[in-house]
Amino acid sequence: MAALSHLRICDFTGQLAGAGATRTLAAFGAQVIKIEDPVTEGRWDILRGMEPFVDDRRGIEFGGGFQNHNVEKLGITLNLRTERGRELLTELVRISDVVAENFAAGVLAHLGFPYERLREIREDVIYVSNCGFGHRGPYSSFKTWGPIVQACCGLTFTSGLPDLPPAGWGYSYMDHHGGNIMALAILMALVHRNRTGEGQWVDMSCTDAGATLLGPVVLDYTVNGRPARRPGSPYSSRSDSPAMAPHNIYPALGDDEWFAIACRDDDDWRALVQIFGASDDGEWAHDPRHTTRSGRLEHQDELDARIAAWCARRDKFAMQKEMIAANVPGVAVQRPGERIEDDPGTTEWGLWPWVEHRAMGRVRVDGLPVHLSETDWRIERAAPLLGQDNDLVYGGILGLTDAEIGALRAEGVI
């Protein structure tokens, strides 16, 4: 039995920041009915037609990101501009435990389904909205996507090197956690409903969620008055909470190859001295100024330069092997292909499951980083083609006849 197989989610999420949430719940067995607009062919989720592509074919059934983010979901089309479309949504909400969306704030209300209306349809409904600044507050109408969310919550600023612009994250980190934290919000509301019978609206703001991920930096400001925006800060590859040295990313042998070392304590340093000091070019490691953490922190620039020169002459995986054997956290910066194809930390976990997509064929997708002993996740079903499950949902679940479904198609309702 899947943990969530008794639950139905009426799903208006898109992109990753929303679709990621219902993807996780679907992998644990929830029946997620993804609703797409037939008029725009589902393009309100722009990932439907965007790269990566498996081959030269293009179009709304070939977007690799959409495919990845919508596995295990059912897909239907529904035109909410029509009266009949709104009636069908009403019927769907009536039999759904959760309504989930990450439209711009106010869009679902404008379509005729604010929370008050959803609750009229089903009193204990759980409605979770997720957008960049939430549905309440001065910026609720502001437009965002991942990079804007990260910039506005402090995550972009706190990722970078001194005297350089912010590095940012290089991807929409908060689209992932927008989805993950939204999944958490849905589950919290389900647990509350289990206890009390009560549904509710959960107002999630992705920038709030992102700002919870920088707690100690914030406390250093609110308690000590020390802002993160100060000379020399941030230097996020180093560690000042807790303070460690050496702690950085160093060049390795080869083009654009890199190696990360975190020296947690004096034990780690002693092990590193054994490694560095055993080589012809590692005599500097025996310098007594480096034996204590305070000494290493004080001479961190010099130490980093020495280690960089040492690492630059060595293969990143050979160094990883040597350091891990010495119980020191020192690892290669892995490229996508290296960590996906050749890393037992991911392959033995079953992290990259295959699905069979009706248009794209066999494709691998992201798995989940958690295994449950009794009700583990399962990802076997590919993302739905546009309207793929119309017959199942409108016929099998809502009880419409084939003729009625045919009429809905003819009238452009689905």
């Binding site: 402090g154 400001y221 996020s236 807790p242 892995q334 980083p369």
Partner: protein, 441 residues
């Protein structure tokens, strides 16, 4: 669908304070957390939504009590702001698991709990005689979550790791850095490898809880930090999975298989300010022209004439860029006009004014600026808690999502070492596990 109409459904009023009579969604649940840096944020998430989380520390206190920064920069195990943040809302007991009596007390505590969260090296607890499988056999409803660098079962399970090495090995670092690839790639700040694992741990625990609500059966939840960050890299992973492509890092924008362009200005207050996507539709050209006119800068920004051409043409289609040189010129004028505005305004003014006009623009805030911002304050995100010991209230970050019916709450600061030792003596009765001790430093 006009924006003004959509806006009618929104409220700019400050949020009301949570109703104190309402419990959190997890109120009544007891969590035992073995102190450790990997899992601390998971316990905090559960505590914030109402669970009674009991943090178990060794007799000398958890090593994280010595993590910087400290209150007033005074190193002291009761003054670590790392510890304050990650262990707020929790109760604290001291137990020596290397001692038989301590282990018995721990197992008694586990017997009283719904959920255990720990991040011990795989095998350590079992070697001590604290076997999660045995404890789950004795207590079938128990949910036991383990957060470790590589999970309990992979062949890498015993490798050492920190936030840096997980992010480096699992993908995020590869995508993060600068256009100049002679500069090393960068670890993003804030110990996000731990957060990523902990958010998934909390999801796993709640899925298990929903299952237990239905069946009475608990389970083991195995979380791999390495796996968690591996599936938190967006296109870097699925670009490889689908198309076999490898992204390359770029300054303050998405890592990409092919280089992408961006436009950045230095704002009037000297900040790095991305200027967003230039106008393409007639409406977007009009918005930008109006903005320039409202600022009274038409004479300073000569691109206005081309923006008007863009509006008159009904917008520009990027596909025409190579056939029609004027399209490229008009598009470039929009980009240059945005840079001109951005360089004459402060970063905040540019963001706020542009967004009010419907242009999707960022402001790159430092974390302290988030806490001072009018929007976050209106949403009650900065949350203040009294701290008797240091003689001033302390402002923390707030709720990741707002649940009016079962609110997030910050009720107590992190426990002093052994502060709630009496919890070990008290047998749990029924589901009334609310602890009325207010704490106090």
């Amino acid at each position: 669908m006009a924006r003004a109409q959509i806006g009618q459904h929104l409220s700019t009023d400050p949020l009301e304070a949570p109703d104190p009579a309402r419990p959190g969604p997890l109120t009544g649940l007891r969590v035992v957390e073995l102190a450790g840096e990997y899992a601390a944020f998971c316990g905090r998430l559960l505590a914030d939504y109402g669970a009674e989380v009991i943090l178990v520390e060794p007799p000398g206190g958890a090593p994280q009590r010595w993590y910087e920064p400290f209150v007033d920069d005074t190193p002291d195990p009761e003054r670590s702001l790392w510890f304050w943040h990650y262990h707020a809302n929790k109760f604290g007991v001291r137990l020596d698991l290397d001692d038989a009596a301590g282990r018995d007390a721990f197992c008694d505590l586990v017997a009283s709990a719904d959920i255990v969260v720990e991040s011990e090296p795989p095998g350590r607890l079992a070697a001590l005689g604290i076997d999660d499988a045995d404890l789950r056999t004795d207590h079938p409803g128990l949910i036991w979550a383990s957060v470790t660098p590589f999970g309990r079962t992979t062949s890498r399970a015993h490798e050492p790791a920190t936030d840096l090495t997980i992010l480096a090995n699992a993908g995020p670092v590869w995508s993060c850095g600068y256009d100049d690839h002679s500069i090393p790639p960068v670890r993003g700040g804030g110990n996000q490898a731990y957060h990523t694992a902990c958010i998934h741990a909390a999801i796993g625990i709640l899925v298990a809880l929903v299952h237990r609500d239905r069946t009475g059966i608990g389970q083991f939840v195995d979380v791999s930090m390495h796996a968690a960050s591996n599936v938190t890299t967006e296109f870097a992973s699925y670009g490889w999975l689908v198309a076999g492509t490898t992204v390359q890092r770029q300054t303050c924008r998405h890592a990409s298989v092919h280089p992408t362009q961006t436009t950045v200005a230095e704002s009037a207050d000297g900040r790095y300010q991305p200027t967003g996507v230039p106008p393409r539709s007639a409406r977007e050209f009009r918005i930008l022209i109006d903005w320039i006119d409202d600022l009274g800068w038409r004479d300073d920004i000569p691109q206005v004439a081309l923006l008007e051409v863009g509006e008159e043409r009904g917008g520009v289609n990027m596909a025409d860029m190579f056939d029609d040189p004027l399209v490229a010129e008009i598009f470039g004028a929009g980009r240059d006009a945005l840079v001109a505005i951005a360089s004459r305004l402060t970063a905040y003014e540019f963001f706020e004014q542009g967004q009010r006009r419907g242009i999707a623009l960022p402001v790159i805030y430092a974390p302290e600026e988030v806490m001072e911002d009018v929007h976050f304050r209106a949403r009650r995100f900065p949350t203040t808690l009294e701290h008797e010991g240091i003689g001033r209230p302390v402002t923390y970050t707030g709720a990741p999502f707002v649940m009016d019916a079962s609110p997030w709450r910050l009720q107590r600061h992190a426990p002093r070492l052994g502060e709630h030792q009496d919890l070990l003596d008290r047998r749990r009765s029924g589901t009334t596990t609310r602890h009325d001790d207010k704490g106090g430093r």
